[in-house]
């Protein structure tokens, strides 16, 4: 086994009486791309959000890159600098230009000077195909453009791992391709990625491993071929039947 990037042991999360995650064990190796699938309400997003403590675990251990995220004494801001996150609804900072969105964290956190950050931002925007939007305000962008800016913003902190929370679910169908292309490039370049998605095509093509979740538990995991062509668990089968035969 390669060096572990993510090491989750016996993770439980309750929202009031609602037991959302029930004793999850979840590991991700360096440079690995893991795709989380499963019906809505299965706990995929909650698991992802526990990885950078946007949700505080009820019990269990979450270790990212050797840092115990679930320990209150850990400097969570420091740890988050290395964990990029992309949201379903983009969450671009509405009061800042595209360029400022990308530059905010590196400059505020003293990672780079204004000039360095601006240069880096322009370069990142170029890689996501939006160099001409540097001075634009978020409201003037399409959904696909916003999501690519959001990816650039997360990458600006040079994270070791990227978390994607249904990054294409809020997009018009014709925009999905652009965003997935950027993600594929990232994967190709060796980024460690955890992706919650309903894009089965992306899972098949890019994932090193697919994890199927239902009812707050990991039901089945394996290579894309194993999961999609030869699922063992009944829940996996019925889920895939529904999604793929739409």
């Amino acid at each position: 086994m390669k060096h572990l990037k993510v090491d989750v042991t016996d993770l439980n999360k309750n929202f009031g009486d609602n037991h959302v995650l029930k004793g999850i064990d979840f590991k991700v190796a360096n440079n690995e791309v893991v795709v989380l699938i499963g019906p809505s309400g299965s706990g995929k997003s909650t698991l992802l959000r526990c990885l950078n403590r946007l949700e505080v675990p009820t019990s269990g251990k979450v270790v990212i890159d050797g840092n115990d995220i679930s320990d209150k004494k850990t400097d969570i801001d420091k740890a988050r600098e290395n964990i990029g996150m992309v949201f379903q609804h983009f969450n671009l900072f509405n009061n800042l230009t595209v360029g400022e969105n990308v530059e905010l964290a590196p400059t505020e956190l003293g990672k780079s000077s204004k000039e360095e950050a601006a240069q880096a931002a322009k370069k990142l925007l170029k890689t996501v195909g939006l160099e001409d939007k540097y001075n634009a305000m978020p409201y003037s962008l399409s959904g696909g453009q916003k999501q690519r800016v959001a990816i650039a913003r997360a990458l600006a902190m040079n994270p070791d791992i990227m978390l994607f929370d249904e990054p294409t679910s809020a997009l018009d169908p014709e925009m999905v391709g652009d965003v997935l292309a950027v993600m594929k490039d990232l994967a190709k370049n060796g980024m460690t990625m955890v992706v919650v998605t309903h894009e089965m095509g992306f899972a098949k093509e890019v994932a090193d491993r697919v994890v199927f979740m239902a009812d707050g538990k990991v039901m089945e995991e394996g290579s894309p071929d194993a999961i999609f062509d030869n699922p063992q668990n009944e829940r996996t089968k019925s889920f895939l039947d529904k999604v793929i035969n739409v």
């Binding site: 950078n52 946007l54 801001d77 420091k78 740890a79 988050r80 600098e81 964990i83 990029g84 996150m85 949201f87 609804h89 969450n91 671009l92 900072f93 509405n94 009061n95 800042l96 905010l104 964290a105 505020e108 956190l109 959001a150 913003r153 997360a154 902190m157």
Partner: protein, 485 residues
Amino acid sequence: MKKFFVLLSCIFSITIAGIMFSQPKVQAAEKTYTIGTDVTFPPFVYANSNNKYVGIDMELIRAIAKEEGFKADIKPIGFNAAVQSLSSGQIDGVIAGMTITDERRQKFDFSTPYYQSGIVMAVAPKSKITSLKDLKGKRVAIKTGTSGADYANSIKDRYGFKTVTFDDSDNVYNDVKNGNSAACFDDSAVLNYGVKTGLGLKIVTKPTNTGKYGFAVQKGKNQELLSKFNQGLEKLKKNGKYDQIIEKYTGSAATSSKKKENKQKDADGHTFVGLLKQNKDALLEGVWETIELTVVSIICATVFGVLIGLLGVIPNKFSQGFSTTVIYIFRGLPLLVLALFIYNGVPSLTGSKIPAFIAGIITLTLNEGAYTAAFVKGGIEAVDTGQMEAARSLGLPFGKAMRRVILPQGLKIMVPSFINQFIITLKDTSILSIIGILELTQTGKIIIARNLEGFRIWTIIAVIYLVIITLLTLLSKWVERRIKD
């Protein structure tokens, strides 16, 4: 953003310091006593056309002060407010045609009586009411806290009438004149004087429940002042000055000349221009006081409100609870109650005085600040939670995320509420007239108490408020545009 807060807190502290230093210092050589009195109770207390307070009580207290070598700082804050301020120790004495009663003796020490009066009933000139028996089922106007009111309340069941209470004598008289109330009860000296000088009412009963007027201090306190008053009064009675004063205000010469003066003033006193000219100085002072109150309160309330609002959104149960409680209390209290509580209630507890202006600022800061805090909190909470999550997930600490991402967006949401709150603050300063601050509304009350030109003066006051509010709105809109760009 940081600079903005630093600037705000600077202004805040400078303002507070300014207020502290601008308070008149107590002079060591000649002792100054603060004496509360009524707004209008002629011939005992009333403002003449120069807005100077004259009348029997005023001349007496000034003559006694001169005789005994102390300074009297006269505060015409209204009878009710004066009595309350005295019992809470905010002022040192009250001279306001106050009848000495057993009930009042429990709270105050009285001087030797300086005047004797009784209660009479007055009705409109054309009224058919001639005795108490005719009052059955009717409404009677009284002034709060007066012995006329006590008398009316004591007999209202027997004669089957209802009472309606006002704060100022002129409101009482007007209510009778325009027929809303059938009659009013007041001291005979006051009503006699009024009738003689053209008040437009007639007296239909003989004086009853005769009472004596006394100068009052808080029970057991300011005994020195009380004995000085008694000594001074004694001297004035001996040297004939006392009789002169009484004659000056109740003699036929006085009343007929006053009547003439009233008639003459009526000529130009019935036009807006005439009234404006006559009261220009008083109105300007009132406007200035209102503006001062408004500006200082807006600054203090904004700083206070923003701080409390921010405490309400930081992820800490204690600070959130604190913020919620402060908002709950000060938004829940009527402004009037809060003003009276701070001005009259707190000093009777702590024993130290609060100047009316400071009490007013504190009142507005707490009340308007609570509203500000509520919409600051609301504005921040109205920013999509995803914005905070995105900022935090990049590694930005809470404070930085707040400052760079959430507050700029929240502020835009809050701007209309801020403008609204500024306008409300301006209007709410009028409520502070209750604690005797001589702002625009109180100035209006006093002018009307003198000339009974309610309609025209209130119109003038209303227009002045609208003008200031328009200016404030224009200023705010200009600032709003600057922020949006």
